[in-house]
């Protein structure tokens, strides 16, 4: 990978330069509003203030890919986000919901994150960024990172067009991951040299931790357990709306069969004697988990969005991981790899059918 080393102080200039030199027409990046971290869409470079204090901030509000979903215009937008968000954007390229030419994905290293409201409540303690020592210390104080982050296997910036990797001290390596990313860095006026961002040992450590944490996550292992798990679901479909890879314009569950009213409901109750209402909670989640089966990036946005506090990370990322293992597919990893449901092998999977 070709890149350059920058200090924290240089980052303001870097992001401003992307706008100034017209590498991108706009930037979506985190900004600080009081204790909160939120995303902003920037056109005016002077609005970018102290980015080094926000881009690594361990706060998760929405998945940024969901914000740019449907960005199919010519104007180019740069998205500064965490690896899970970038991976979701790559899946959106494949699903034709995002134009590859109009998005410059800038991925930052992530050490895990807190739900944005938790982050805001403990901003002083948590600070601008997280490392493993601090993460343990905070967990000891009863402020654990999100489950989705604890089981995340891909926290280092190695996807997207440009990676911003943390190194020791107040320094970062900014490197081009794709040709487009490299071009963008050159256009922004940087001289690039070969940088080693493989970080194999660190990745293996993260992987081991993530797998251990996944083992600790409570399992939903039977149909009865699944029903119990979803008992509080009110079928508000927030988990769908915040999901970066759920994109149907006309969702089945907004239509009469998926979202029955009046007479249709009555017919269902007639057939079964009684039905739980709002109806279709199990059908909704089982169908949705199939729909995102190969593309779920396990960002945990669904859990954060659930108004009933159902820990959906125990369902969506865990269930979809098995589907992804079946097709040996890692969503968001490789742009050139086709979506599993759009391709096939002539001889495969016969052992999984009956």
């Amino acid at each position: 990978m070709k890149g350059t080393e920058l200090t924290y102080g240089d980052l303001t200039g870097f992001f401003q330069g992307l706008l100034e030199k017209k590498v991108v027409d706009a930037l979506i990046m985190p900004f600080r509003a009081g204790n909160n971290i939120a995303y902003m869409l920037v056109r005016d470079k002077t609005k970018i203030v102290a980015p080094e204090s926000v881009i690594f901030a361990p706060s998760f509000g929405v998945n940024a890919a969901n914000i740019v979903k449907g960005w199919l215009i010519d104007e180019k937008v740069g998205v500064v986000a965490k690896p899970c968000e970038t991976r979701a954007a790559v899946e959106l390229f494949k699903l034709k919901q995002l134009s590859e030419k109009s998005v410059l994905l800038i991925t930052v290293d992530c050490a895990g994150a807190y739900p944005n409201e938790i982050y805001a409540a403990h901003a002083a303690e948590i600070g601008n960024q997280l490392d493993s020592a601090k993460l343990k210390e905070l967990a000891g104080k009863g402020i654990p990172i999100r489950d989705a982050c604890a089981i995340c296997e891909n926290r280092l910036a190695d996807v997207g067009d440009i990676a911003i990797a943390r190194t020791s001290g107040e320094k970062v390596i900014v490197a081009g991951v794709t040709a487009m990313g490299e071009e963008a860095l050159k256009a922004a006026g940087f001289t690039l040299e070969e940088k080693d961002l493989e970080r194999k040992a660190e990745k293996e450590k993260i992987l081991a931790e993530a797998r251990a944490n996944l083992e600790k996550l409570p399992r939903i292992e039977s149909q009865a357990a699944l029903e119990a798990f979803l008992r509080d679901c009110i079928v508000c479909k927030n988990c769908r709306d915040v999901c970066p890879v759920c994109y149907c314009k006309e969702c089945f569950f907004d239509q009469p069969i998926g979202d029955p009213i009046a007479g249709d409901l009555l017919n269902l109750a007639e057939a079964r004697g009684a039905i739980e209402v709002p109806a279709n909670q199990l059908l909704y989640h089982l169908t949705r988990v199939y729909h995102v089966g190969t593309t779920c990036v396990a960002c945990g946005a669904c859990e954060d969005a659930c108004p009933k506090g159902i820990p959906l990370t125990r369902f969506y990322p865990v269930v979809t991981k098995k589907v992804q293992e079946l097709f040996e597919y890692v969503p968001g990893k490789d742009r050139a790899e086709p979506l599993p449901f759009t391709t096939y092998e002539e001889e495969e999977l016969e052992e999984c059918l009956r």
Partner: protein, 142 residues
């Protein structure tokens, strides 16, 4: 699960391809092959028409089993519909497996000339589902 297994007659919803399994079932009938009458067939033009949601819906509405019948790999009337279907069913069963529900869903390849095979598959499927017992969701409020 109030019903005794021996008295239990499973309801199986079958989704069959017009070009093969549906005709295979027809052949089984016209050649007077005996098979258990548990299946209710829905004819589709191709197994690739099967939205996995149909399967979930059948199971959640009380079907004890779901049968999907398509053309042998390489023999699809639409060239590759059954290849896509195979991936979808494999993914769906992988999901259902985690909740112990996968054995109720089966995909078989049965051609238009395989009346015998259709009959024997039905026998075997009905026995399997009988062994599993009634779908626990059959009588539940959901």
């Amino acid at each position: 699960m109030g019903e005794e297994k021996k008295d239990f007659e499973p309801k199986i919803v079958g989704f069959t391809c017009n070009w093969c399994t549906y005709a295979g079932a027809d052949l089984a009938g016209t050649s007077r092959k005996k098979y258990p009458p548990n299946i209710r067939i829905v004819r589709m033009m191709c197994t690739a028409r099967l939205d996995p949601m149909f399967v979930m819906r059948a199971l959640l509405n009380g079907a004890d089993g779901v049968f999907i019948g398509g053309c042998h790999p390489g023999e699809c009337h639409y060239i590759k519909g059954n290849f896509y279907s195979r991936r979808r069913v494999a993914a769906m069963r992988t999901i259902l497996k985690q909740f112990g529900m996968d054995n109720r869903v089966q995909l078989h390849w049965i051609s238009a000339s395989e009346g015998d095979r259709f009959a024997s598959t039905m026998k075997q499927l009905a026995a399997t589902i009988k062994e599993l017992g009634p779908n626990p969701m059959r009588n539940e409020i959901l």
